[in-house]
């Protein structure tokens, strides 16, 4: 049963992608209907799979000696993430029915969205490192194609290419690690790696561990690869919600969580992970303070919250990070979709041209406030529980300055969240833009996610129990609901954190009048260039271009020289053979 469900999580969306593409752009209603149907089917299948999680391999497909076997393992970590991908995917597709109404080339859009959902499920369900990489690459392709969906807009294309290049550079780390694992253990299977981890040479293991860290940091837009996510906001908003908030960027965190037992003993690894998370969380929280583009602010916020998850893994709290992943996926998707409703209604992403929209978009305002409160970490929303859990773990296992930094981040989060909410929905209308309320499909998706934001924390007992049973190497201890409540509410650190957040909120409230004012030039410059990293990216790109132009000289286009090249290579090979002959 689990085998069929796992396989269908990949194949149903892919079949849907094929059918939507074949339907053709002349029948948009049918395309919408097909996309919704298939994504919902995948969502239901994913939910049914969750209780069936087990550490055993449920599906095996031999692919020859070189590629190993394609295995699917549906344990607690995989199934919950697959469920998130499919459910949020279904809601994003439902939202797209309204958002993308009247757009051309819907076939391309839905095909890539569905292809992505299937590939993401394959990524988390895969039990083989090589096929994990394979699905990883497919998600990168879909991400690029969807960011550049409006391919007449040069900024969209530039954003897509930038995202592709940066995530692929990280992907090299993943491939190198996978090949190193194969070279030393003879198998691509993740279970084999986790079992044999203590026996692998520490030097090789370090290479694998840091390679995976690089891949995860690039995919999740963590420091120092954090520059691509804000530029990826050129994508249609449902895509931003699905790929760049709730699923693909989680792939990096998933990678770290999955391989934590193998890499934790490596000296310096957990410290590096913690640093990456801390730096990402703080830098992007600062950048969100001054952002004027609504989606950009949300993008910075996403990177910041992913930093919390990465920090949690560095502190050893794998369950805490996955719990926050669940909360974040729900409330960030909610925020993005609500922002999408606003942008669709008002026609601009610039927050300085919004204001007072709450009167004309009451439902959107309510759900956005719910999402914002969860993001800020106010009590009893799902963000509160998961963020506090992370901070608890951080307090226990990381240095005081790291914990302090994360606390500061929490305060900053509260500040910029209030600023964002105020600028869009409250206060006086800053421009004469006519805003219409969200359509029915949008409302359905938004309400569903809002309900999730209020309720997902109740699943903590089931979630942690599932992870304890089905992840034999991770040694996770199940935390029941009463246990969670007790632990959080009785810890003094919680109240300290709440105090910082209250401070942030107060500051935001006091400064709300100046929210639309541009910050001092230095701050703005730092924000715009992502603390200098964009400048670095630009220079690297230009350097590569120069090198390519230089190398072009060898392509004379004359056959004789090409043949000479072949013969020179042949001579080199023969020389090597002659040299190594006994």
């Amino acid at each position: 049963m689990a085998a069929w469900l796992s396989l269908s999580l990949i194949l149903i969306p892919w079949l849907g992608a094929l059918l939507v593409w074949r339907t053709g752009d002349a029948a948009p209603t049918r395309q919408h209907a097909l996309a919704v149907a298939f994504s919902l089917a995948a969502g239901v299948a994913a939910l049914v799979l969750v209780p069936l999680a087990s550490p055993l391999v449920v599906f095996t497909l031999p692919m020859g000696a070189f590629f190993g076997e394609l295995t699917l393992v549906s344990d607690g970590l995989s199934t919950v993430l697959a469920a998130i991908a499919c459910m949020v995917g279904a809601l994003a597709v439902i939202f797209s029915v309204d958002y993308m109404r009247g757009e051309t080339q819907l076939g391309r859009y839905y095909t890539f969205v569905l292809l992505f959902i299937g590939a993401m499920c394959g990524l988390v369900l895969s039990g083989s490192l090589l096929f994990l990489f394979f699905f990883w690459e497919i998600t990168a392709l879909c991400s690029y194609a969807l960011i550049s969906f409006y391919n007449d807009d040069p900024r969209a294309v530039a954003g897509g290419v930038k995202a592709l290049i940066i995530t692929q550079v990280g992907g090299i780390g993943l491939l190198a690690g996978a090949l190193a694992v194969f070279a030393s253990t003879g198998s691509y299977q993740i279970a084999d790696l986790l079992a044999k981890a203590p026996q692998i040479a520490p030097g090789l293991m370090s290479v694998v561990a840091f390679g995976f860290l690089a891949a995860a940091a690039a995919k999740s837009a963590q420091f120092p690869f954090h520059t691509w996510l804000p530029d990826a906001m050129e994508a249609p908003t449902p895509v931003s919600a699905l790929i760049h908030a709730a699923t693909m960027v989680n792939a990096g965190v998933y990678l770290l969580a999955r391989f934590y037992p193998a890499f934790a003993p490596i000296p310096g690894w957990t410290f590096a992970v913690m640093l990456v998370g801390l730096a990402s969380a703080l830098i992007t929280a600062f950048m969100a303070l001054t952002a004027m583009d609504l989606k950009r602010a949300l993008a910075y916020s996403t990177v910041s919250q992913l930093g919390y998850m990465v920090y949690a893994i560095g502190a050893g709290g794998v369950f805490a990070s996955q719990f926050h992943l669940l909360s974040h996926a729900v409330f960030k998707a909610l925020l993005f979709l609500a922002a999408g409703a606003v942008i669709h209604g008002v026609g601009t992403r610039d927050m300085r041209q919004m204001g007072g929209l709450g009167a004309r978009m009451p439902l959107v305002r309510v759900v956005f406030v719910i999402g914002a409160l969860a993001l800020a970490g106010l009590p009893f929303f799902n963000g509160f529980w998961s963020k506090e859990l992370i901070l608890e773990e951080g307090l226990k296992h990381t240095p005081w300055w790291a914990y302090g930094g994360m606390l500061l981040g929490a305060g900053l989060t509260a500040f910029y969240t209030l600023r964002m909410t105020w600028m869009v929905f409250f206060g006086a209308a800053r421009s004469e833009r006519h805003a219409h309320d969200a359509g029915m499909a949008m409302k359905v998706a938004l309400v569903a996610l809002a309900a999730g934001t209020l309720l997902t924390w109740l699943a903590v007992g089931g979630f942690s129990g599932l992870m304890e049973e089905s992840l034999p190497y991770h040694q996770i201890h199940a935390l029941g609901l009463p246990g969670l409540v007790e632990e959080i509410l009785l810890a003094p650190a919680t109240y300290g954190a709440l105090g910082v957040m209250a401070l942030g909120l107060a500051l935001g409230w006091l400064l709300r009048g100046r929210a639309g004012v541009s910050p001092p030039a230095l701050v703005e410059g730092l924000s715009r260039t992502s603390f200098g990293f964009d400048w670095l990216n630009g220079h690297t790109a230009r350097g590569v271009h120069h090198l390519a132009a230089l190398l072009q000289k060898t392509q004379t286009g004359q056959m004789n020289w090409n043949l000479f090249g072949i013969m020179a290579a042949l001579a080199a090979v023969l020389l090597v053979l002659w040299w190594s002959a006994p």
């Binding site: 004379t556 286009g557 004359q558 004789n560 020289w561 000479f564 013969m567 020179a568 042949l570 001579a571 023969l574 020389l575 053979l577 002659w578 002959a581």
Partner: protein, 179 residues
């Protein structure tokens, strides 16, 4: 005695090959190629590969030569002794290196010939290497398609066209187009 035959044939083949490569007129080149084909075919027969020798003679010396002559008639002879693109010393050096290494690597390891098994060419080709036969059929088919496509719109015109090429490179200089 036997060696002498082999040496004569071999040297003849190499000499004709060399003349084919440095010939100025294309027709001479093709005729030398036919000679090489014939000599190689005799060598093959002497080594015991009778069917291969026959195929080599009829295809290499017969069919290919006819093809070349046909192409030459369509295209027109163009006998000019132009300098080569790659400087001759460089070419000599590379070839000597490659040929020398190949000879060095293969010569000492030549064992005495063992007795063959039970296999005949017929069995080898049609049963053991049956895939090869399919590949050959596919190759021939695609070759025919290719030629049909390529020669679809060529009449008998080109031979009458003037032989002015688009650019003449007499001296040894690579293309120096303005960027």
């Amino acid at each position: 005695m036997e060696n002498a035959v082999y040496i004569t044939l071999g040297l003849g083949a190499v000499f004709c090959a060399y003349r084919a490569v440095i010939a100025v007129r294309l027709l001479s080149s093709m005729l030398y190629l036919a000679c090489v084909s014939a000599l190689v075919s005799i060598l093959l027969y002497l080594m015991g590969a009778i069917e291969v020798a026959v195929i080599e003679l009829s295809v290499g010396a017969g069919l290919v030569t006819v093809l070349f002559v046909y192409a030459l008639s369509v295209v027109g002879e163009d006998a000019r002794d132009l300098l080569s693109v790659i400087p001759k010393p460089l070419a000599w050096f590379t070839i000597l290196l490659v040929a020398g290494l190949v000879a060095w690597l293969t010569f000492p390891t030549l064992p005495r010939p063992a007795q063959d098994g039970i296999l005949s060419l017929k069995e080898a080709l049609w049963q053991r290497r049956a895939l090869d036969v399919w590949v050959q059929i596919a190759l021939i088919f695609s070759g025919v398609m290719g030629v049909l496509g390529l020669l679809a719109d060529t009449g008998r015109g080109p031979a009458a066209q003037p032989l002015e090429p688009k650019s003449a490179r007499i001296a040894h200089q690579p293309e120096e187009d303005a960027e």
